[in-house]
């Protein structure tokens, strides 16, 4: 992490000088006042300058990109990366053609990249952040597919009167199934088995 100590007549002046030197905005840094300025006796004896310590906060999105870029190169893809941030969630979405290699079977590669990226970024940060990776809206498309699947299988459960067990899914994907069916009065859903092989079960109430 980059830090800088600056001395000036006032705290404000010191901060401004530091920001200019580091070429960053106030939001991107942490300010610590090391010494408050004082005028001293008659402004001559014992006057002290203000001293501040400025620490540049690293942006999780930049850190994520730094981690992912060499991997993308090795995978032989050059996607356009769009980023956005909502609360603690940092989204990086990849756009371009032939990015299937980034998704893998049922999103396996994408989930692995996301998991490793979160570990690498959070290792360097004090406060935990969540990084979400996406390729060409894959996550949203997958969600729609899962909702359709949930409806189809709940119909099957109602028709046959037997419980339906789905294939193993990640917690995020299981949640989508549970949510999709939670308002169905005839159906109940629960998960069984151990991670990473936990599966959703759809049964009649």
């Amino acid at each position: 992490m980059k830090t800088l100590e600056i001395t000036a007549k006032t705290v404000d002046e010191a901060v401004q000088t530091a920001l200019k030197e580091l070429q960053v905005d106030l939001e991107q840094v942490e300010v610590e006042v090391l010494e408050e300025p004082s005028k001293g006796f008659l402004g001559i004896i014992g006057s002290k300058m203000a001293k501040v310590k400025i620490t540049v906060k690293e942006d999780p999105l930049d850190m994520a990109k730094a981690f992912l870029q060499p991997i993308l190169d090795k995978l032989g893809v050059k996607p356009e990366i769009r980023t956005s941030k909502t609360d603690k969630y940092y989204h990086l979405s990849f756009h371009g053609s032939r990015l299937g290699i980034l998704i893998g079977h049922r999103g396996e590669t994408l989930d692995s990249l996301q998991y490793l990226c979160n570990l690498a970024v959070n290792k360097k940060l004090e406060n935990r952040v969540h990084i979400i990776l996406d390729v060409e809206n894959y996550r949203q498309r997958r969600e729609e597919t899962l909702i359709k699947l949930a409806r189809k299988l709940s119909d099957k459960a109602k028709r046959t009167g037997r419980k339906v067990v789905l294939e193993p899914m990640s917690p995020q994907e299981r949640r989508i199934i549970h949510t999709a069916l939670q308002n169905d009065p005839e159906i109940q859903t629960f998960s069984e088995g151990q991670e990473p092989y936990r599966k959703v079960v759809i049964s009649l109430k």
Partner: protein, 75 residues
């Protein structure tokens, strides 16, 4: 391929300088032996091998263009 494993492992451990990847090439397969500091073993394996599994998944994706099967082993 070796660099890929090295890059990922270095980003996860506390002692990046001690990350070493040894490549053993066979006729049909390539074995990448990942070696890290003893204290960092958990950081590349993870709970129930979750991190190791993720590393293997990414390496598998990267090696899909090559004709050889790539195996990542943690030693």
């Amino acid at each position: 391929m070796r660099e890929l494993v090295e890059n990922i492992a270095r980003a996860l451990v506390d002692n990046p300088d001690e990350v070493k990847v040894n490549m053993v090439e066979g006729e049909k397969s390539m074995i990448l032996e990942l070696k890290v500091a003893p204290d960092d073993m958990g950081k590349v394996i993870g709970k129930q091998g979750r991190i190791a599994k993720s590393i293997r998944t990414v390496v598998k994706a990267a090696s899909s263009k090559e004709k050889k099967k790539v195996v990542v082993e943690i030693v």
